[in-house]
């Protein structure tokens, strides 16, 4: 093959665009690379080539190195009629041979023969020459632009025009140093790119990727996100050293500013230390959320009166930019201070009546109604835990915290900074002398916001958070708001996941079904006074359990089948289910276990197949015919007694070991005994023995779920 001699070349592809939202760029970069790879693969051009992609606010750039200049030739073979039909006895071609050759478009003498098990056949082999990559790319690149997916796209020339995240204004497409010609929407590709809006020159001709990257750099654009990030980090570190403090770390913000600037540099600004009286949470939110500034801390962790702004310019020689940012921040802080003071002209609890005007959901009433339901559930939870001997459980605290939890929704501060809901209430409660346990509970009760977000810090916070989430899930399901696919407007999946995380991480003794019962009772006793049908309640429970499976798998790393095995044995007490999962996971690696699991699977299948009237008969030892039956029966009885004791003591590992010890007896049974015996009584007795085996030993985990096809 002359593969090594194939000439290879570079593709440079840039989609020049008006400012793309920074939050979307990291994904777009990954997607552009994947789409290029997929499209090249489909054209047999990817082999031996490597693809990279870079994103900046005004451009998405792909580069492919080592791309073939021509597709490899393809060989096409078509089998025709049998030789015996195509040639007559003297070896002259028949009508069949002639028409096959005609149809394939090749002369008769180029027809070949192939041997098959059915005899010799005619065959037409054709070499299809590969097309020039240049031609293919001009067709493929517009498709790549089209296939990039965005949360919300737009048109800029009209309904029949192109769609993209923002208007495309130029396209660079260079292959092997030469421009590729195609158009997308109202833009034609060529070899000219654009520098930084204010620092660079427009219409820069480029020759290849190296030249492109160098010209961009000379014109104020750092193409590679890593380079921009590194520059920002370096400049932040240098400024922080000067302040003598430390950075208020914020990886998300760092990522955002990396994709918000083509020529990032960092400047330090200051603000009046008098604003440091305001809580840190509020100051940081103002700086970060609205202005995208990093906050600076002193060595002792308190905020320092500085901020770091990342700007899209190399420097600020006259300090004009700095003065502008300081001025904006001053006005923002002044607003925050105004809210802080005016909100607290009355006490947090005084906002309770105002919650009547804030609707939670039209059929579920106002937040005032929700608060009453939350109080009932939180009280019930605290009471449960108190009765179980948990010293921190305090019913009046749980009640008070639930009562105050939503009050901040009526304050100006939360209206302005919606992301601070809960936190504002907690801060006001603390400032107004509520018990710390209560104030912290209010502060934390929206937590956890995601799989990695911490749960509320104290038990009262856990009670209020659970009450809030249980009420949301139960209430919404009750009025038919059930998450489907991507539609989950009330974030019920997150709520259910939060319930699971709180129970597991705080190791709370709690029956999910009883907790849900408390929520449905609250829904019935308070407005909207809805009754929840038992089937609905079962559906809600299954919804929460489904999120629990998800948490066990994705957060705690258990295997799919292990989670299913344990959940089939029940998961109403999630902490207990977690213990059982740990035990199962540990014992699964031991020698006896997998074979035993296979036997259990077999046992379940036999029982499932058996006719209904064959099952449910009492076990009669006198009907045993074989030693293996008696042995298994004795082993089951003996192990069952031990497992009972071990389970009661919470020693699941030991209990599973006891069960694993049954392997020998189970194996022998299946070798020696034919379950579906001729004689009815013997057969039914054997089924009864198996049923007992399954019943006794699947209460920790149902092993028949293990090792299925679905191993993830």
């Amino acid at each position: 093959m002359k593969k090594s001699l194939e000439r290879r070349a570079e593709l440079l592809f840039e989609i020049g665009c008006e400012e793309i939202p920074a939050g979307m760029l990291p994904r777009a970069e990954v997607e552009l690379r994947a789409l290029l790879e997929k499209a090249l693969e489909a054209e047999n051009l990817l082999e031996g080539a490597s693809v990279a992609a870079y994103a900046a606010p005004r451009r998405l750039t792909g580069v492919v190195y080592g791309l073939r200049v021509k597709q490899a030739d393809a060989v096409k073979e078509v089998t025709g009629p049998p030789k015996s039909v195509a040639y007559d006895s003297v070896g002259a071609p028949t009508r069949a041979a002639v028409s096959f050759a005609e149809k394939q478009g090749i002369p008769l003498h180029k027809i070949q023969f192939v041997s098959t098990p059915k005899g010799e056949y005619l065959a037409a082999r054709q070499v299809i020459p590969g097309r020039a990559a240049e031609k293919i790319l001009a067709e493929l690149l517009p498709r790549v632009i089209h296939d990039l997916s965005w949360p919300r796209s737009m048109t800029w020339t009209g309904l029949s025009g192109a769609r993209f995240i923002r208007p495309i204004r130029w396209i660079v497409a260079l292959f092997d140093g030469k421009p590729l010609r195609f158009s997308y929407g109202d833009v034609s590709s060529d070899d000219r790119t654009q520098g930084h809006r204010f620092l660079g020159r427009p219409n820069l001709r480029v020759k290849n990727f190296r030249d492109y990257e160098a010209k961009l750099r000379a014109n104020g654009v750092l193409l590679r996100p890593e380079a921009r990030r590194a520059k920002i980090e370096k400049e932040i570190a240098a400024l922080i050293r000067k302040t003598g403090g430390r950075l208020h770390e914020d990886p998300e913000l760092l990522n955002l500013v990396t994709f918000l600037n083509e020529c990032p540099s960092v400047l330090q600004g200051d603000f009046d230390p008098a604003y440091l009286d305001l809580p840190d949470e509020i100051l940081v939110t103002v700086m970060r959320g609205h202005q995208k500034y990093f906050a600076v801390e002193k060595r002792n962790g308190e905020l320092a009166p500085h901020f770091l702004a990342v700007i899209n310019l190399p420097k600020d020689p006259k300090g004009l930019v700095r003065a502008g940012h300081e001025r904006v921040l001053r006005a923002r802080f002044a607003d925050a201070r105004f809210f802080w003071e005016s909100d607290q002209k009355c006490r947090l609890a005084d906002y309770l009546p105002k919650l009547e005007r804030i609707t939670y959901e039209s059929r579920l009433g106002s937040y005032r109604d929700k608060v009453e339901r939350m109080r009932a559930i939180a009280r019930w939870l605290a009471e449960q835990w108190y009765n179980l001997g948990m010293k921190q459980a305090h019913v009046p605290d749980a009640d008070r915290a639930a009562e105050l939890a939503k009050c901040d929704l009526a304050t100006e501060m939360t209206k302005e900074f919606t992301e601070l809901q809960g936190i504002v209430g907690g801060l006001y409660a603390r400032a107004q002398g509520e018990a710390p346990e209560v104030a912290d509970a209010v502060y934390d009760h929206y937590r956890p916001l995601g799989l990695d977000d911490p749960i509320p810090g104290n038990l009262t916070g856990c009670a209020v958070a659970l009450a809030d989430k249980l009420d949301s899930v139960a209430g919404c399901f009750a009025v038919g708001i059930i998450p489907t696919g991507s539609s989950d407007p009330y974030a019920l999946r997150r709520a259910a996941q939060g319930i699971v995380k709180i129970i597991l991480e705080r190791k709370l003794t709690l029956s999910l079904s009883q907790a849900l019962g408390a929520a449905t009772r609250a829904l019935h006793a308070n407005p909207p006074k809805l009754a929840v049908a038992p089937e609905r309640e079962a559906q809600i429970l299954e919804f929460i359990l489904d999120r629990a499976r998800f948490v066990f798998r994705e957060k705690l790393g258990f295997a799919y089948d292990e989670v299913n095995a344990v959940f089939r044995a029940g998961a109403d007490d999630l902490v207990d289910a977690h213990h059982r999962l740990d035990a199962l996971c540990a014992i699964r690696k031991t020698r006896n276990f997998e074979p035993l699991a296979v036997s259990f699977k077999r046992t379940r299948k036999i029982l499932e197949k058996a006719d209904a009237k064959e099952k449910g008969h009492a076990l009669r030892p006198d009907l045993f015919e074989l030693e293996a039956e008696r042995e298994l029966h004795a082993a089951v009885r003996e192990a069952a007694a031990r497992v009972q004791v071990q389970k009661r003591a919470g020693k699941y590992r030991e209990a599973l070991e006891t069960i694993a010890g049954l392997r020998k007896a189970v194996d022998r049974f299946f070798v020696d005994v034919m379950v579906m015996a001729e004689q009815e009584a013997v057969r039914r007795n054997r089924l009864a023995l198996l049923a007992e085996l399954l019943k006794e030993f699947t209460t920790i985990a149902d092993f028949s779920e293990l090792g299925g096809e679905e191993t993830r």
Binding site: A22, W156, P167, V321, R327, I358, T359
Partner: protein, 316 residues
């Protein structure tokens, strides 16, 4: 007067009126019709028929105007340095949207004295939506050293109608830009003209309209007015469905739109008075939207000479 002393000390940047003149001149040179503020209360320059109705249909148009915009809930009795019951928007609509619109916009900043290379100017994602107008667009807020100075929107839909061609709308916040140019912390310290401050011209209005909106407005009367205007608007819109020939061509849809604007402002008054719950809020907004969407839909039909579709098929 305190404001006057300050005025004599610093005199940097354009006055508010020179800013208006500079922007007007800039955009008139780029083919815009210089229109006047609308004479019905509106919450934003977008609600002016020169935007709302002009972006519908295919005919090219370019327009510039100042629009005093009333947001009763933002009133602060003239005590907040940056929040106002009524602020000034300078509104540009370019239809269709030209390919170099960002560059031209940036030139307009240079025209009012902002040196682009010395400032941190960026386009940050901010998609605009008006639930009461059934309108939305894709675009940015333009930040000047961290200060939001312009809303930049490619209109996608207006009154529930998909726009074709797409218009671009630029809304400059005049007080903010003037404060930036003049380097003042409070809008009331702005120089409106060489010898008058913004406070001298507008403070009394801010104070009194805040008092009215928050303390003295008669909510039941406003509700009744809302009903009356809505009823009249509905009646007009229904009449259009039946109108034929010349009567259809001259049918007063523009008046129906005025009534819709009245309702929108009355809704804002009720909202500022704090007498509507969240649920009612959504319902009232939907009622205004229905008027706006029907007006837009009929307006498109009127321009193209189409006959009406049955009322049931009209989208809200």
């Amino acid at each position: 007067m305190k404001a006057k002393v300050k005025l004599e000390k610093k005199k940097q940047g354009l006055t508010v009126q020179d800013l208006i003149l500079a922007l007007s001149q800039f955009w008139v040179h780029r083919g815009c019709v210089l229109q006047q503020p609308y004479d019905v209360e509106v919450g934003a320059g977008t609600m002016h028929p020169e935007t709302f109705l002009r972006v519908l249909g295919a005919a090219p148009y370019r327009v510039a105007y100042v629009q005093p915009s009333r947001r009763p809930a933002d009133g602060r009795y003239g005590e907040n340095p940056n929040r106002l019951y009524k602020h000034l928007q300078f509104q540009i609509v370019l239809k269709p949207s030209p390919a170099d619109v960002q560059d031209v916009y940036l030139e307009s900043l240079e025209a009012i004295g902002i040196r682009l290379a010395e400032h941190d100017i960026r386009f940050e994602e901010d998609n605009w939506e008006s639930p009461t107008l059934g309108a939305w667009g894709i675009g940015w807020q333009v930040l000047l050293d961290g200060l939001e100075i312009t809303q930049f929107t490619y209109f996608q839909q207006c009154g529930g109608v998909d726009l074709d061609p797409v218009s671009v709308e630029l809304t400059y916040g005049l007080e903010r830009i003037a404060s930036f140019l003049q380097g003042v912390e409070s809008v009331y310290d702005l120089r409106w003209s060489e010898d008058r401050s913004y406070g001298e011209i507008r403070l009394r209005e801010e104070q009194q309209l805040s008092v009215y909106s928050f303390e003295r407005s008669d909510a039941p009367a406003i509700r009744a007015e809302f009903e009356i205007h809505e009823k009249e608007a509905k009646g007009l819109l229904e009449g259009f469905e039946r109108a034929k020939g010349p009567a259809r061509e001259r049918y007063p849809l523009v008046a129906a739109y005025d009534l819709c604007l009245k309702c929108s402002h009355l809704f804002n008054q009720l909202d500022a008075r704090g007498v509507i719950s969240t649920t009612e809020r959504a319902a009232l907004m939907a009622r205004v939207r229905t008027l706006a969407c029907r007006t837009a839909q009929y307006f498109v039909q009127q321009m193209s000479g189409e006959e009406s579709v049955p009322a049931g098929e009209v989208r809200a």
